[in-house]
Amino acid sequence: MDFQLDAEQAAWRDEVRAFLAENVTEELRREMAVHHLDKPDGEVEAFRRKVGQRGWFGLNWPVEYGGLGLSAVHQHILATEFEYAGAPPLDLTVTSVAPMIIRYGTPQNKAEFLPPIARGELRVAVGYSEPDAGTDLASLRTRADLDGDTWVINGSKIWNSAAQRATHEWLCVRTDQQAPKHRGISVIMVPIDTPGIEIRPIITWSGYRTNEVFFTDVRVPVTNLIGEVNKGWQYITGALDLERGALTNVGDLRRAVDDLIALADRPLADGTRPADDPVLRRQLAQLDADVEVAALMGLEAASLLDSGTIPTVQVSVEKVFSSELRQRIADLGTRMAGLAGALSRDSPGAVAHGRFEQLYRAAPLLRFGAGTNEVLRDVIAQRGHGLPRGGR
């Protein structure tokens, strides 16, 4: 084991930090606060182009696919620094979809999809959940039927985040109606401008936009199917493991706790500091300790990836721990300043620009998103400790 960045890794971190110092501008932050990531041709898009120019969307892909051939630890370092700086994060196209194409895609899949992903031009919306297939994902009903050399897709997807700015759907469909439910699923890449796709926005409590997307006789070439037909379940469970791993970089949590510690030192109107309260100090110390541990969990998962395994149990451990920690951070952040903790960003008197009020509304998502914590606890017990399935 080695707990310190080596010289090369430290130089990489410094390179990423220097890039962020130059490119995460006030204008970019303001645009993200107001528009999330959704403003076309704005600061976020300009930032993404710069990331793409550096080849960082493909930083841990093999060189033969246009990547930089760096390690999962490198990607973890970059993602952590991006989150700490509040930069637009690497999206799932890069962190979970592309690795699956590299691992399972046909030669044509790779040639067609990887170069534009690396340039930041191809961005997917991940089409997994359906109104009646959420946690029980394998019950999905959106279907694709072969008509000559064309797949014809009918059905609908929900929680289809980023569809409004995606170029493609990474779509999970049923391609064999007779097979057992896990064995009749395939993944098809569907250009978002194909006729027959309708996107309806859904606005969540945090203000984050997601979508319901409807597919009516949507026709795509047979070659858009990823890898082999009816092997999709294997691909998407692998992608979900990577997605959890990418989601649980705790750069944002480290930043939130650092900000809380700084707030605790700032004198209140009566001249005392929040940190004068020993109970608050104890709570902050716990959050600090827990963020440190969550960061170690993330680095361990990245190290395991580099040693050639998809660390299913470890990323599940990390995801459960860090998502529940996020809620505790948001909760303490809103409690530290009395009733002012209820003030939102645009209110007079808002504390820390309302970011903990915002985090309080954003945090529930990661407890149930990307696999509910209840299912992930089952995964930990069953795949980590050999307990039998079937208790749900």
Partner: protein, 380 residues
């Protein structure tokens, strides 16, 4: 940065796991727990000495293995899983303290015997309930060519069986308190009286009262250039003690989790293994999450301490996580094993008792949080 054990490190763990499986059954743990036992396991001790475990972190010139503190932590993990008698820990800790705080002459005097298994030892050099508190409880006065020390130590582990105990005392001078010095005291000599305490785990702790206890100059650790022990060095030893104990707790947590997983996999009710119920699986998952956090925090602390400098922040994080992970794992395992885990003959309580002692020893999570509060600037 690579948070995966190397092949050599995995091999080291496997060797010690196998040794403890053979030499440290729970029947031994139970025997040593009895009030009439002195807590010393002759056969295990011989085996550990033969395997080089007692010399693991010490230089080859003393008969040691020259391994790092991190590797010693892997040993403590396997020891913790097997509920190794604490005399092994206190003896190794004494060696680490002499290695760090002593002169070459002190190392020559103690380390070869220790590596060979011929020295049983202990350390009482910080507040037993707060390892961040290094203030001596004893006073020392010059007496001819030696010293007289006096005062009371509330907890000295393995005091009765130890050949030597390292204590610290504040020098008394005509102008008030002087240097902080280390003294190697021989239990049972003139001026030494010890009263056995009875702990929840039956480990051997004594309250020691020293009255004009005489120590010769050659058994005094006076620090660099004789100016007294450097707080940075003594603090490193105290932090290493906490971090190693954290590694022990990681092993203990893993052991009770494994035992309980085995139980819930085989115990049937309502015609199915109780381990198939989601409520049971979630208890298991929560223990695993806490164990992973504790393990990473403990190994991080050990790794940074192994570079030779204090690592207060990481040690605090480790103690906060390990104390709670081990204790709650034992209590959750009692819940999952029900009556079968509650009876003495199934041994679970042996870990539960050790978990409580290790939670308190060196400082609870609350005490460790105070170390962290200082490190992150919440306390001036």
């Amino acid at each position: 940065m690579r948070l995966v054990l190397t092949a050599e490190q995995r091999e080291l763990r496997a060797v010690f796991a196998e040794l403890f499986a053979r030499q440290c059954p729970t029947s031994l743990v139970r025997d040593l727990k009895r009030p009439e036992s002195d807590g010393f396991p002759p056969q295990l001790w011989t085996a550990l000495a033969a395997a080089g475990a007692l010399g693991l972190p010490f230089g080859q010139e003393y008969g040691g293995q020259g391994a790092g503190l991190f590797e010693l932590g892997l040993f403590f993990t396997e020891a913790g899983a097997a509920l190794c008698p604490t005399v092994v820990y206190t003896t190794l800790l004494y060696g680490l303290a002499v290695d760090r705080l002593g002169t070459p002459r002190h190392r020559d005097a103690y380390l070869p015997a220790l590596c060979a298994g011929e020295l049983v030892a202990s350390v009482a050099a910080w507040n037993p309930s707060d390892a961040g508190d290094l203030r001596p409880r004893l006073r020392a006065t010059r007496d001819g060519d030696g010293w007289r020390i006096g005062g009371t130590l509330d907890f000295v582990a393995n005091a009765e069986r130890a050949d030597v105990v390292l204590v610290t005392a504040t020098e008394e001078t005509p102008t008030g308190p002087g240097r902080v010095l280390g003294f190697v005291v021989r239990p049972g000599g003139p001026g030494w009286s010890a009263e056995r305490l009875r702990t929840i785990a039956g480990d051997k702790q004594s309250r020691v009262r020293l009255v004009d206890c005489r120590v010769d100059d050659d058994a005094v650790l006076a620090g660099p250039d004789g100016r007294g022990l450097d707080p940075a060095d003594l603090g490193w030893v105290a932090e290493a003690a906490v971090a190693l104990q954290c590694a022990e707790m990681v092993g203990g947590t893993a052991a009770v989790l494994d035992r309980t997983v085995e139980y819930v996999r085989t115990r049937h009710q309502f015609d199915r293994p109780i381990g198939s119920f989601q409520a049971v699986q979630h208890h298991v998952a929560n223990m695993r999450i806490a164990l992973d956090g504790a393990r990473l925090a403990a190994y991080s602390a050990l790794w940074w301490l192994g570079r030779g400098e204090r690592a207060t922040r990481r040690v605090a994080v480790a103690k906060m996580h390990c104390s709670e992970a081990y204790k709650w794992a034992t209590l959750t395992c009692h819940q999952l094993q029900g009556g079968m885990g509650y009876v003495r003959e199934t041994d679970l309580h042996l870990w539960s008792e050790r978990a409580k002692v290790t939670e308190l020893q060196g400082g609870t999570a609350d005490v460790a949080a105070r170390w962290l509060e200082r490190e992150i600037g919440l306390v001036g």
